[in-house]
Symmetry: C2
Subunit: 115 residues, 2 copies
C-alpha cells in the first residue's frame, strides 16, 4: 500500500508538466477520448497516451472500459489533497505580502513626507 | 525568461519529493542552516544540499549570502501560485463529493424504505 506521502509525490510529479495540466483543464469541461485530446494539442496519439497514463496512475483521470470508446474523465480527488497540503502555507505567503504591503506603504509615506 | 507555465512545472517538480516537502515544513517554523536541516533527516550534507538546490531553483527557499552562516528561509510565493492553480478545480472535487453524498443519502433512504 502506498503512503499518503508517496501519493502526494506522484500527484505533484504528474502535475509538473504543462501538457498534462492542459489535458486536465480540457477534461474539466467534459470527458474526451484520446483522439479528441490529441487533436488540439497537436501531439501524436502515442505522446498523448503516455501523458494520460501518468495522469491515470496518479488518480487524476479515469478511463472508461469500453474498448471502442474509452473516454477520459477527470478525478479531482488528488487535487483536493494538493489543496489541503498547500493551504498549510497560506499564513506564510499572506504574511509575506502583508510585510511587502507595509514596506510599500512606508515607501509611499516617505515620498509624501519629502514632497 | 521563463513562462508562468514553466515556473509552475518547476514548482510541482520540486514538491514531488517527500524529503523536500519535509524541509519546507521545517523551514516554515524558522530558518535553518544546511547542517541543522541535515541532522533530523539523517541525510548526508551532500544529499540535503542537492534537495536545497532544487528548492532554491524553484524559488521555494532563499539562502543567505554570508559564507559562514547561510541560513535557508522559506519563500511561499510559488505555493500561492500552486494554490491559485489548484483552486480552479475546487468546484469539481466538491461536486464529486456532493454527488457521493447524494448517492449515500439515496442508499440510506432505500434501506430505510425496505425496513
Amino acid at each position: 500500500m502506498r503512503s499518503d506521502d508517496d501519493r502526494l509525490s506522484q500527484t505533484f510529479a504528474a502535475l509538473a508538466n504543462s501538457t498534462r495540466r492542459a489535458i486536465l483543464a480540457r477534461l474539466a469541461k467534459r470527458e474526451a477520448t484520446v483522439n479528441e485530446l490529441a487533436e488540439p494539442f497537436n501531439l501524436s496519439l502515442q505522446a498523448i497516451s503516455r501523458h494520460i497514463k501518468v495522469l491515470e496512475q496518479a488518480g487524476l483521470i479515469t478511463q472508461g472500459q469500453n474498448a471502442q470508446y474509452r473516454p477520459c474523465t477527470i478525478d479531482a480527488t488528488p487535487l483536493k489533497e494538493v489543496s489541503k497540503w498547500t493551504e498549510q502555507y497560506r499564513p506564510i505567503w499572506e504574511a509575506r505580502f502583508d510585510r511587502m504591503e507595509n514596506f510599500i506603504n512606508q515607501l509611499n509615506k516617505k515620498e509624501k513626507d519629502n514632497e
